[in-house]
Amino acid sequence: VQVNDSQTLVLCVLAGGPLHGYAINAAIEELTGERLGPGSLYGALARLEAKGLVEALPGEGRQRPVRLSPGGREVLERELQSMARVAAVGLRQLGANPA
C-alpha cells in the first residue's frame, strides 16, 4: 500500500471525472502539494491504460482526456479501503484522532 504511488494518485484524481494530462497533474498538486514529473505522470498513465484501468476519450487537439474504467474504479476502491484500514489501525495505536 503506497499512498504516494503515482498510479494510485492518478486513479484518485480521476475518480472525480475525466481529465487530461495537465489537469491530472494540477489535481495531484492540489492533493499532495507536489506535481509529478512528466516522465512519472505519463509512465503511470501508460501503465494504467495498458492494464485497462483507465480509458481514453476522443481527443481535444493535443489533449486527450482519460477516465476511470469500471475495472479501475474497482481496483481504486480496493486499494483505498486497504489504505484506510492500515491508517485506522496506525492512528488508533498512536492514540491520534483519525479526523
Binding site: H20, R35, P38, A46, R47, E49
Partner: protein
C-alpha cells in the same frame, strides 16, 4: 531544437505517438526541472514494452520480443567483456565454462523470443539487405582490427598506446555491432515479421533471464569471493542480474500478473 523535444523524441515511437504532445506540453510548462524525470521516463518506457499503447496483442508480443532480444544481446556483451578483461589466473577455467554454458542458453532464448522474418522470398531478401546495411560499419572496423593485428604482429612489446587503440577499436566494433543487431528487426515492415507466440515468448524470455541471472551470480560470486574484491566483476555481475530482473518482469507482465498498482 529544445532539450524537451529531443528527450520526447527518444521515447519509443508508439509511446510518443500516443502521449508525446502531452508530455512535451507538461515538460515545457515545468521547465528544466523536468529534464531528469523525463530522461528517466524514456529509459522506463524502453525497458517496459508491455506498457506501450498497442493496436493488438500480437504487436505487443513483437515489441516485447524485440526488447527481450536487445536485453539478451546487452547481456552477452557484458559477459564477453567480463570474460576478456578478467585476467586473474583463477578465473581462466571458470571463464571458459561460463561463456560456453551461457552462450548456449542465451542462443536458445534469442531463438525463441526473437520475432522472425516470414518465410517469403521478399522478407528474406529484405532482412539480409537490412542486416548487411546495418552491420557493414562494425564488420569493417572489426575486420580492420584483425587485419592490423595479423599484419603488424602486435605483441607484448608493442607500445601501450597502440595496444589501447587496437583494443578500443575492437570493443567499439563489438558494441556497435550489438546495437545494430538490435535494429535489424524493428527496421523491417510489420507484414514481413512473424511475432513469437505467447508461449514461445515466455519460454524465450525465461531462458534469457535464466542465462543472465546465472552468469551474473557466478561473475558476482567470483568478484567478491575470489582472491580479493574485484570491481569489474562486481559491476558486471550486478548489471547482469539487473537485466535478468527486467526480463523476468517482462514474463510477469505477459502473464497478466500486474493488475495491482505496484508494478
Amino acid at each position: 531544437v529544445s532539450v524537451v523535444r529531443v528527450l520526447v523524441g527518444l521515447y519509443p515511437a508508439p509511446f510518443r505517438e500516443r502521449w508525446g504532445p502531452q508530455i512535451e506540453a507538461e515538460a515545457e510548462a515545468t521547465g528544466r526541472r523536468s529534464w531528469v524525470n523525463l530522461a528517466m521516463g524514456v529509459v522506463d518506457a524502453w525497458l517496459h514494452p508491455a506498457i506501450w499503447p498497442v493496436r493488438s496483442r500480437s504487436q505487443q508480443h513483437r515489441w516485447v520480443g524485440q526488447v527481450g532480444v536487445a536485453l539478451g544481446i546487452a547481456g552477452w556483451f557484458v559477459v564477453y567483456l567480463e570474460a576478456e578483461l578478467d585476467d586473474r589466473a583463477s578465473a581462466a577455467g571458470f571463464r571458459a565454462g561460463l561463456v560456453n554454458g551461457f552462450a548456449l542458453l542465451l542462443a536458445l532464448g534469442l531463438f525463441l523470443a526473437a520475432p522472425r522474418p516470414r518465410m517469403t522470398w521478399e522478407a528474406t531478401v529484405t532482412m539480409l539487405r537490412c542486416s548487411a546495411r546495418l552491420l557493414m560499419g562494425p564488420a569493417t572496423v572489426g575486420a580492420g582490427v584483425v587485419a592490423a593485428v595479423s599484419c603488424t604482429g602486435l605483441s607484448e612489446t608493442s607500445p601501450s598506446w597502440l595496444k589501447l587503440l587496437v583494443l578500443g577499436c575492437w570493443w567499439t566494433s563489438l558494441g556497435w555491432a550489438s546495437v545494430q543487431a538490435c535494429r535489424i528487426l524493428p527496421g523491417l515492415d510489420a507484414q514481413m515479421v512473424a511475432e513469437p507466440t505467447p508461449a514461445r515468448l515466455r519460454v524465450g524470455l525465461g531462458c534469457l533471464a535464466a542465462a543472465l541471472s546465472a552468469a551474473g551470480t557466478m561473475i558476482l560470486g567470483s568478484g567478491v569471493t575470489g582472491s580479493g574484491w574485484d570491481l569489474l566483476s562486481t559491476v558486471g555481475g550486478v548489471a547482469l542480474i539487473g537485466l535478468a530482473c527486467l526480463l523476468a518482469s517482462m514474463v510477469h507482465s505477459l502473464r497478466g500478473g500486474w493488475i495491482g498498482l505496484n508494478c
